[in-house]
Each structure stands twice: as structure tokens, then as C-alpha cells.
């Protein structure tokens, strides 16, 4: 009887557990294959391609060694200079700096769109969303011209600036702010709280999961960006490259047959910082909201 009721109570959780386990396995399998592949000799991809695990004698650190072997500048060897630590630093500046700046201005804007009353508020917001529908591809060339006119060509600012005008984050954060009960705000206003106070004391704590989600997306986007980076900093000195672009150049410049090990190794390396950001942030922030709950 007792056991039965335990099962009855937890059947849902059990099913959830099994389904999630299966899905996670499916999602992870190729990734594990990829991570293993970064330690796999390129030849083994061909001769043992039908094996999930690399064969023993095909184990190699070549990919990683190649990536970290040329980090110091040697006179006359400029083409073999890959200052990975510089790139890491630049990437952090672009990804962290850009994301934080954007989070601030986007959260302010989202606050205005939800809690402030002004003429055409919703119309402006829908116009904002409307602009998202225009494919980004038509503004790529003009944006490049724009950056060059502002003097951001060949500079990290050229990577940060365009992200600040993004609509997606404002949209996302607003969608979360909308869920915050409006009477909470009204009450605070009655008590004479200023908008800034309301923003920091009420809206931010309740809506921070939105900031986390957007922060993660923004960081990831900036971190992994290669195409725009190539246009802006491709012609800049190597020390101003970002990690993603630099790794791409290393991989393009290697002999074609080696490139798979190298490409996977560089993917693993570039993935680590995002993984850290994600793992640290996920428990702190998403869970945090759940614990506070929305108290009324």
C-alpha cells in the first residue's frame, strides 16, 4: 500500500526523469563524439569512422598543441603567430562588456515599455518588433559603412556597438517584466518610490531571470561570432582579433586533412568559457527567482 502511494505520488517525476535522461543522452551523444574527436588523429576519422570511440593508438593532443604552440611573437614569423591569450582577453572584453552594457540599456528600455506611461508607447514597441522582421542581411554592408564612418573599423568597438542597437533583448526582457504584477508597482508608487527605486528594488529582483537569459544569449552570440568579426577586425593586427575569429584562421590555415581534429579542438576550447558562465549563472539566477517566488 505504502509503496503504491509512493509510486503514485512520484510516477510523474519518474517518467520525467526517464524522458529527460533519454533526451539528454541523444543531445549529448554527438557532442561527446566531438569532444573525443578533438583527441583523435585525423586519419582515424577515415579508417575507423564507423566507431564511436577513437582507437587506442589514434589518441593525440596534436589539435591542442597546434593551438597553443605559437603564442609568442617571433620576428619574421608573423604568419605563425597565434596570440591565443590576447584573443581570449579581447573576446572577454567584447562579450562581457557588450553584454553588460546592453543589459543595462535594454532593461531600462524594457522598464519604460512596461511600467511608464507615454504617448505611443505600444506603437513604438510594435514598431521595434516590426523592424526585427527585416532580414539582417540587407543592413550588413551599410552597418560596415556605418562603423567605418564612426572610426570603429578594425577596432573592438566595432564588434560591441552593433549589439547595443539590438531589438531582441529589449523584447525578451519586456516579455518577462510583463509578468510582474502591476499592483506591486502601483503600491510602490503610492508609497512615493521613485522609478529608479522601483526598478532596482522590485522589477530587477523579480525579472532577473530574463536578464540572465538575455545575458547568456548575448554573451554566446558575441563569443561565437565569426562573420561580423571577420568584416570588422579581419584586417586588424593579430593582437586585436577575438578568440573565435583567431581559431577560425588557425583552422583555415592548417593543412586540410588535419583540420577536423583542429576544428573540434578549437570548438572545445571556445566552448569552455560559455559553459562556465552558464553553469555558474544557472543555479544562482534561475533558481534564485524560484526561491523568492512572487510574493504579494
Amino acid at each position: 500500500m505504502k509503496k503504491n502511494s509512493w509510486l503514485g505520488k512520484n510516477l510523474g517525476k519518474l517518467i520525467a526523469f526517464i524522458v529527460l535522461l533519454l533526451v539528454s543522452l541523444l543531445m549529448l551523444t554527438p557532442i561527446v563524439w566531438g569532444i573525443l574527436g578533438s583527441f583523435r588523429h585525423y586519419r582515424d576519422f577515415q579508417s575507423n569512422s564507423s566507431q564511436f570511440f577513437p582507437s587506442w593508438d589514434a589518441f593525440t593532443f596534436d589539435g591542442y598543441q597546434e593551438l597553443f604552440s605559437k603564442t609568442t611573437y617571433v620576428e619574421g614569423q608573423g604568419n605563425n603567430w597565434f596570440p591565443i591569450w590576447n584573443w581570449l582577453f579581447n573576446s572577454l572584453i567584447v562579450a562581457l562588456g557588450g553584454t553588460l552594457l546592453y543589459l543595462i540599456i535594454a532593461a531600462f528600455a524594457a522598464y519604460a515599455f512596461v511600467f511608464l506611461d507615454f504617448k505611443w508607447r505600444d506603437k513604438i514597441f510594435y514598431f521595434l518588433i516590426g523592424t526585427m522582421t527585416i532580414p539582417g542581411i540587407i543592413s550588413t554592408a551599410p552597418q560596415l559603412i556605418n562603423m567605418s564612418m564612426m572610426g570603429f573599423y578594425k577596432s573592438l568597438l566595432g564588434l560591441i556597438a552593433p549589439t547595443l542597437g539590438g531589438v531582441y533583448g529589449v523584447f525578451l526582457i519586456r516579455q518577462f517584466f510583463v509578468n510582474i504584477p502591476s499592483d506591486l508597482i502601483e503600491n510602490a508608487r503610492m508609497d512615493g518610490a521613485s522609478n529608479l527605486k522601483i526598478f532596482f528594488k522590485i522589477v530587477l529582483p523579480l525579472g532577473k531571470s530574463a536578464l540572465f537569459v538575455q545575458g547568456l544569449f548575448g554573451f554566446m552570440g558575441a563569443w561565437n561570432d565569426v562573420q561580423w568579426a571577420q568584416l570588422i577586425i579581419g584586417n586588424a593586427p593579430r593582437s586585436t582579433w577575438t578568440l573565435a575569429y583567431g581559431l577560425k584562421v588557425i583552422s583555415d590555415n592548417s593543412e586540410a586533412y588535419e583540420s577536423i581534429t583542429l576544428a573540434l579542438a578549437s570548438a572545445v576550447i571556445s566552448m569552455i568559457p560559455i559553459l562556465i558562465v552558464y553553469l555558474v549563472a544557472q543555479s544562482k539566477i534561475i533558481e534564485g527567482v524560484a526561491n523568492t517566488g512572487i510574493k504579494r
Binding site: L128, Q143, N146, G165, N179, D183, N195
Partner: protein, 324 residues
Amino acid sequence: MKQTTTLIEYATKKEHWKNNINKAGIVGFFLGPYGICFALFFIFPLVFGIIMSLCSFDGSSIYPSQFVGFDNFTKLFTNPILARDFWKSVWVTIRFDLIIVPLSILIPLGLALLISMKPPGYKFFRSCIYLPGIFPLTATGLILLKMFDYRNGFINAFFNVSIDWFGQTNTAWFMIGLFCLWCGMGGNFIILCAGLENVDKTLFEAASVDGCNKIDKFFHITLPAIKPQLFICLFTTFIGYMNLYGQLLILASNTPDQSEMKSAVFRIQDMLIGNSKGYGYAAAMGICLGLIIIVIAVVQLVVTKERKGGSKHEEKFMAWKKSR
């Protein structure tokens, strides 16, 4: 007559005026920084892009050389090859969207619901499901290419089949879909997870007291509560896949029937290679695609009828409860 303005009138007017300025100041403070960035880094290039669609190019410079009005747009309808290829690619894109967008929402929603039940190890599962999305697209694409290779791939060997996944139109689209789900649904998943975390738990308790079953709770509490998140997922996923390009470039470059594999943005990108003569057409195509997206998005908007107030769904819930 101005002279007859009384003191009181003057005072209230001034007060009003002051209030207005104050209000404008607050709005400016909150919206201003973003507004400036939006204008400089989003609207300006966009306007420039629209102007480019009205111009022709000399082939070497990325600056327009001549204003040609709506010529580029008319060509999209009148030039046989341009009309055929572009509209075909738009149709190919929409067709794919119709399948991938619902999947990219329903699957993450289901998974997020399972996560919200908090089974043992749910944090780990949540990370696993998001993990493929943080790998660079080129790397995940390479992994798929190698694993699904026709003669030497792990998948064909493991399941003992012989399918050229990337060599036929249907299987290639299947692979693109798989790629999009595998690496692309993590975003929606995270948004929905976060949305579900914010659902007011007291409502569930109230509902339990009233003896609602789980399905009722889902449709009348959970779903309305995460509607804003569902809306943004739907909207941005739809736009995202209308702009499908990278996944195709990585996986389908060797698929023989390219006309069946090219999305709208792929066609636009094709216009940009070689020299700048195609820039005008590319911009015009981009705007046409944008208009199509707007039309479909507005239909979505009307159908889903997004709401503003946070407490609305609770009122609705109360009303629904009463009606029982």
C-alpha cells in the same frame, strides 16, 4: 484671449507643463540610451539598406552608384530567372518553417515542463539539453557531417543502413531540421524554463484545493502564465528560420538539387558574391522577404493576441474557476 487667463489656470497649466517635462525626463532617462543606440546602430543601417534597394551598383564599390527607383523590385517580378529562383526560395523557406517552428516550440515546451517537475538530476539535464547550442555552428555541423557520412559514417554503420543523408533533397532537409532542433532549441528551452520558474505557485495551491486536475492546471494556469514567453519564442523562432542560411551552407552545399535546397537568404547571399552589381537586387529581395515575414507575423499576432497586464491571466483564471 490670452489676457483673461486666471492665476489658477496659469498655475495648473504650469503644473501640468512641469509634470509633462518631468515625465518626459523619466521616459528619456529610461528609454534614451537604448533609443540612441537603436537609431545609430540599427535604424541608420536599415534605412541605408532600404535606400540601397532603390539603387544600382557599379560592381566594384559597396557604395551605390545610381538611383533607379523601384527597378530592382520590378525585376523581382518581371525578370524570369530572378522571379523564378527568388520566389521558389521563399516558398522553400516557408515550407520548412511550417514544420520546424512548431517543433522548435513544442519540444522545448515539453522538456521545460518536465524540468519544472524537478525530477532528480534536473539541473544536469537542463545543462545537457542546452549544451549543443553553445558549440559553434561550424563545429556541430562538422560533427553531423562526419557522423552521418554516406559510406563511412557512424550512424549508417551503427544502424546498418545505407542512406546518403546529405545527397538527396528529402534526407538533406531532414538533416537540416535535425541540426536546427539539436542546436537551436536550447534557446527556447531556456526561455521557457525561466518562464515556468516565475509562475505564481500560490495559484497551483489554490487550484489543488479546488480539486483541479493536472490538465486543467496546465491549460488554465501554466499556459496563460508563460504566454509572453511563448509569444517571444514563436515570434523569434519564426523570424530566425525565415532567415535560415548557416545551417544550409554547412550541411547542404554538396546536395545536388541546389534549387530545392536554397532558402531565401541563401539566394540573397548568392547575389552578393562576385561583385557588387547584385547588391541592389539583394537589398530588394531582403525587403520583400521582410514584408512577407511581417504579414505572417501580424497574422500570428492577431491569432495569439498578446496581453499586457500581468494580472490579467489571474483574473481570467478566477473567472474560469467561478464558472465551474
